[in-house]
């Protein structure tokens, strides 16, 4: 891989994370437990879509093969997607959605904070802009983890179950491969292993306040950096990509 290929891959990871999670949140539209959350989840989903557009546009330019954001979003198959497995997991109930959101928000907050100091000015700019949105996302999901964890017996039990079910998807956030190493060496990317302590501290504080138990690190699933995904991504893409693939020149 050339440096350029690596930067392209790195940008895809960032863009795909935002896009797939945004697509998942869009599924709540019209289905959230209350109107206030319907708006909150779709707002957050739209923030993520906006982030994805910036990352993927940049990725397309870096690649230099004439692919724009839409081309990258709508005409790649599962093996070419680089989003974390965590983010393609089904919404489940509201607790499951909030668990997925909380752990990712608290990671993404730290990642964007570091990425805003990237030597790549364009990337730093996107991260600085996105950090403001993610600061709010983290506040929103943190609030819910605490309210549901330290709520009724039923909400506590559902929240704990949701955290246990998703726990093994979290270690992948802190993985580093050759692309990450090269990006860190160039001062472009973030050393995610260095975020671990701050992430642990924040998550532990919130879980304690929510009276939830941090699960044991007994299992983990990974593969996104090599394009190995869970079965769920294919269904997401089928829905998301149907229209542009069926009507490639459609305008709306």
């Amino acid at each position: 891989m050339t440096d350029n290929d690596m930067l392209f891959d790195y940008l895809l990871r960032l863009g795909d994370n935002s896009l797939i999670l945004g697509q998942r949140l869009a599924e709540w539209c019209g289905h959230a437990p209350m109107l206030e959350e319907d708006l909150a989840l779709t707002n957050i989903g739209l923030d993520l879509l906006g982030q994805a557009r910036m990352f993927l546009s940049y990725a397309g330019e870096v690649e230099g093969k004439g692919r724009d954001e839409d081309r990258l979003a709508y005409f790649r198959d599962t093996k070419d997607w680089r989003n974390l497995l965590l983010l393609e997991q089904p919404n489940g109930d509201f607790a499951a959605t909030m668990a997925r959101q909380f752990f990712f928000d608290s990671f993404q907050y730290l990642q964007f904070e570091a990425l805003a100091r990237s030597s790549d000015e364009r990337l730093a700019g996107i991260a600085a802009k996105s950090l403001k949105e993610t600061t709010y996302h983290r506040r929103h999901s943190t609030d819910w983890i605490i309210r549901l964890g330290d709520g009724t017996d039923e909400s506590h039990e559902k929240m704990q179950r949701a955290i246990d079910a998703i726990w093994g998807y979290l270690p992948e956030m802190f993985d580093m491969d050759a692309v990450d190493d090269a990006m860190v060496a160039d001062g472009i990317g973030v050393d995610v292993t260095a975020l671990r302590t701050a992430w642990d501290g924040y998550v532990n504080d919130v879980l304690a306040e929510a009276t939830l138990i941090r699960p044991e690190d007994s299992w983990s699933v990974r593969g996104s950096r090599d394009g190995k995904h869970s079965e769920h991504l294919g269904y997401i893409l089928a829905e998301m990509q149907f229209l542009p693939r069926a009507y490639p020149d459609a305008k709306w």
């Binding site: 206030e36 708006l39 909150a40 707002n43 709010y136 506040r139 609030d143 709520g151």
Partner: protein, 98 residues
């Protein structure tokens, strides 16, 4: 009735200040678990198009409102007290519109 309302999250009234220097104005209400969550929900429901720079939320039950029956004793006595309006002063032309 009572059973249903206890299962719902409490209602909050939302007030938004659209610009520095202006007053907070009532914009609507929403349901939330507590005041902090009401604030974030208000941000999502009422400020999506840059409507505000500051939000207040108040529990609806904490608002004490006058009732329509009070209209006679509350407001009508002032109807015939024109001298409470500052309309008996001559304004110099230079003041312009006040």
């Amino acid at each position: 009735m009572s059973k249903e309302t206890t299962n719902e999250l409490p209602l909050y009234e939302v007030f938004i200040r659209s610009k520095n220097g202006l007053d907070h104005k009532h914009v609507g209400s929403l349901h939330a678990a507590d005041a902090e969550m009401a604030l974030t929900a208000a941000r999502d429901v009422y400020t999506r198009r840059s409507e505000g720079v500051s939000i207040w939320v108040v529990k609806s039950t904490d608002i004490v409102a006058s009732s329509p029956e009070d209209r006679g004793s509350f407001y009508e006595p002032s109807d015939d007290k024109l001298y409470r309006h500052p309309t008996f002063f001559d304004l110099p032309d230079e003041v312009g519109h006040m």
